[in-house]
């Protein structure tokens, strides 16, 4: 190294050393690129204020008559609340054979709503009013035998967008584009006439 001018022989290239250096540089660069992408990707997640706006919602049930439905909002989704009549409840087991998921095995609901009525309290049906197919609002078609929906219609919900049909427990009928039952949000009853969406029942109440 003392005399550059005299040294005109090209030193032999150490191929394995060069390969290692190229691979190491590329790998370090790739790791850096992925780490740099993290803040950009993470910036698309819901903001703190969006999360705060997703807090629980209270609904007053005192003026909800049997057979009626009221709607509310929770996390920008419509919540359907139906006070089912004894007739409505009695109709539920009659058409299990026509449903895709009669026992709600593949559907999304809290454990306390995974029963025959899909409810914490049998007469109160609480659903997220978003079609599990692609997110339209299913419309109420509570009148039984409404031939415009289908033959032997037991009453329920009909999605106008793509024709999915659900019964009065939000369970999806065969032949619908939706594959699973309407979702049920976490909810509880802090008092007899009060419903809270977004809060699970405390353990002793939730035993149902």
């Amino acid at each position: 190294m003392s005399d550059h001018a005299a040294d005109d022989t090209v030193p032999e290239v150490d191929e394995s050393r060069r390969k290692f250096l190229i691979a190491a540089t590329a790998a370090t660069g790739a790791v850096g690129a992925v780490l740099t992408a993290v803040p950009f990707v993470a910036s698309w997640k819901p903001s703190e204020s969006a999360r705060a706006a997703g807090l629980p919602t209270e609904i007053d049930l005192s003026r909800l008559e049997p057979g009626q439905m009221i709607t509310s909002f929770w996390r920008k989704q419509q919540i359907y609340v139906v006070r089912r009549t004894p007739d409505m409840l009695a109709s539920l087991p009659s058409h299990d054979g026509e449903l895709k998921d009669p026992e709600s095995k593949d559907s999304d609901q809290p454990a306390y709503a995974r029963n025959a009525q899909r409810a914490l309290r049998a007469e109160v049906l609480v659903l997220i009013g978003t079609c599990t197919h692609l997110g339209c609002l299913p419309k109420q078609r509570f009148t039984p035998n409404d031939a415009t929906v289908m033959a032997h219609w037991p009453g329920g919900f009909f999605c106008p967008c793509h024709g999915s049909k659900f019964d009065l427990a939000g369970r999806v009928f065969k032949g619908s584009p939706a594959s699973v039952n309407l979702r049920i949000p976490p909810y509880s009853f802090p008092s007899a006439d009060k419903l809270v969406i977004g809060v699970d029942p405390v353990a002793e109440k939730g035993a149902a």
């Binding site: 106008p160 024709g163 594959s179």
Partner: protein
């Protein structure tokens, strides 16, 4: 190097030594030889470029008045088209322009199906073109969502929920795309950013690559013959003519005719019977009322009809994606010896006709309500649509490939 560059003196020489302007013009236009037998189908490439420029220019002006956001988008649009001088026209050009862009692109793609323009050596040209089509679909969808009309909102709801059908990550992915539990400011603002900045840049890059690839392999033609294989004594293709002045001038005629039709629609039928602008989108987004009949704009309805025809959401979304992705594989699915449909047998012609009819019928069915008869028809068309891609490798190979002429067929006018 052209003589101009080596010539003496002058600003032009000075400039060309620093920026190869003349060289570029020669490479891209005057020295680029295109087949002399182009027919009407060959207008749509340059018209697509024209529509891109028009969308960029009108888009720049629409952006000057538009305020993205859940509360602000709709009112700003009303002020723009009712109160700002001539913005009714510029915004109208932008909205109607989106539909015309797709008309031109679909005809451009149909041309490739007719004359086998995707076949070797133009596979990469075709794949880049398909990437442009995908980026254009994303661009159009986001643009449609921005005004936050009621069809914008519910259309976005449906399309974004499609991502929720992806196993495992679906629900988290949807929340990430929206940046919220539902559609709101977060989504509308990121769509604005993507629609106005990111996707136009992507499109610009892809269109540039499309043109570079085209210059490399040269244009196909209605006879599907490679003109580079028959060179004259000067080394130029015998059946080629310089792009400029011959095709630049011819394209100007196409532009004139096209803009006449475009202007008639913009001025006299801007909603085009509810197809280019749908009536529910003339009211602002409402969380509590779904339009009775949700449907996308006409250029997406073929895929939408497939989605709706399948009684399983995951499979429906998958088939919808496959219906678009299948185009990508055309260069390898078509194993015919001859490119152009002119020199293929009757089976290939019938198969292609079946595909065109299926696509157009699906397009129409996607605009109809989800009634049993229409759903049934959509199922039949979905089968014939995919049958085209499945049968193509066998039919194109087995079908009698008629003799191809030595030179392109050309009649002087």
């Amino acid at each position: 190097m052209s003589a101009v560059i080596e010539g003496k003196g002058g600003f032009r020489t000075w400039l060309n030594k620093r920026l190869p302007v003349d060289q570029f013009v020669e490479d891209q236009l005057t020295g680029y030889y295109a087949p002399k037998n182009f027919n009407i189908w060959y207008f749509f490439g340059s018209l697509a470029l024209l529509m891109f420029v028009l969308q960029i220019v009108t888009g720049i002006f629409v952006t000057m008045h538009f305020k993205p956001g859940w509360e602000s988008a709709w009112p700003s649009l009303q002020v723009m088209v009712r109160e700002v001088p001539y913005m009714w026209l510029i915004q109208g050009l932008h909205v109607v322009g989106a539909s015309f862009f797709f008309i031109v692109v679909y005809l451009h793609m149909a041309r490739a199906f007719l004359y086998g323009s995707y076949k070797a050596p133009r596979e990469v040209l075709w794949v880049i073109g398909m990437l442009i089509y995908l980026a254009l679909m994303a661009e159009a969808f986001m643009g449609y969502v921005l005004p936050n009309g009621n069809m914008s909102f519910w259309g976005a709801q449906v399309i974004i929920n499609l991502f929720g059908t992806i196993p495992g990550i679906g629900p988290d992915l949807v929340e990430w795309i929206r940046g919220d539990y539902g559609i709101g400011d977060a989504l509308l603002n990121r769509f604005f950013s993507l629609h106005v900045v990111a996707l136009p840049l992507v499109l610009l890059l892809l269109i540039g690559l499309h043109l570079v690839a085209l210059r490399q392999v040269g244009s196909n033609n209605p006879d599907g013959i490679e003109i580079k294989e028959k060179l004259g004594k000067d080394g130029k293709p015998l059946d080629g003519i310089p792009f400029h002045p011959y095709y630049t001038l011819k394209d100007i005629v196409g532009v004139g005719l096209f803009l006449t039709v475009f202007a008639i629609v913009v001025f006299f039928m801007p909603t085009f019977f509810g197809l280019f602008q749908e009536s529910p989108n003339f009211e602002p987004a409402s969380l509590v009322s779904t339009p009775d009949h949700i449907k996308p704009v006409w250029y997406f309805t073929a895929y939408y009809a497939i989605l709706r025809a399948i009684p399983d959401q995951r499979l429906g979304a998958l088939l919808m994606a496959l219906a678009v992705a299948a185009f990508m594989f055309m260069p390898w699915l078509d194993r015919g010896k001859n490119k152009s449909i002119r020199y293929r047998g009757i089976a290939s012609k019938l198969l292609l006709a079946m595909f065109f009819i299926s696509f157009l019928l699906l397009m129409w069915l996607g605009l109809q309500p989800a009634e049993p008869l229409y759903v049934f028809m959509a199922r039949v068309c979905t089968v014939t649509y995919f049958a085209f891609f499945i049968l193509l490798p066998f039919v194109s190979k087995a079908d009698s490939n008629g003799p191809v002429p030595e030179r392109v067929i050309y009649h002087a006018h």
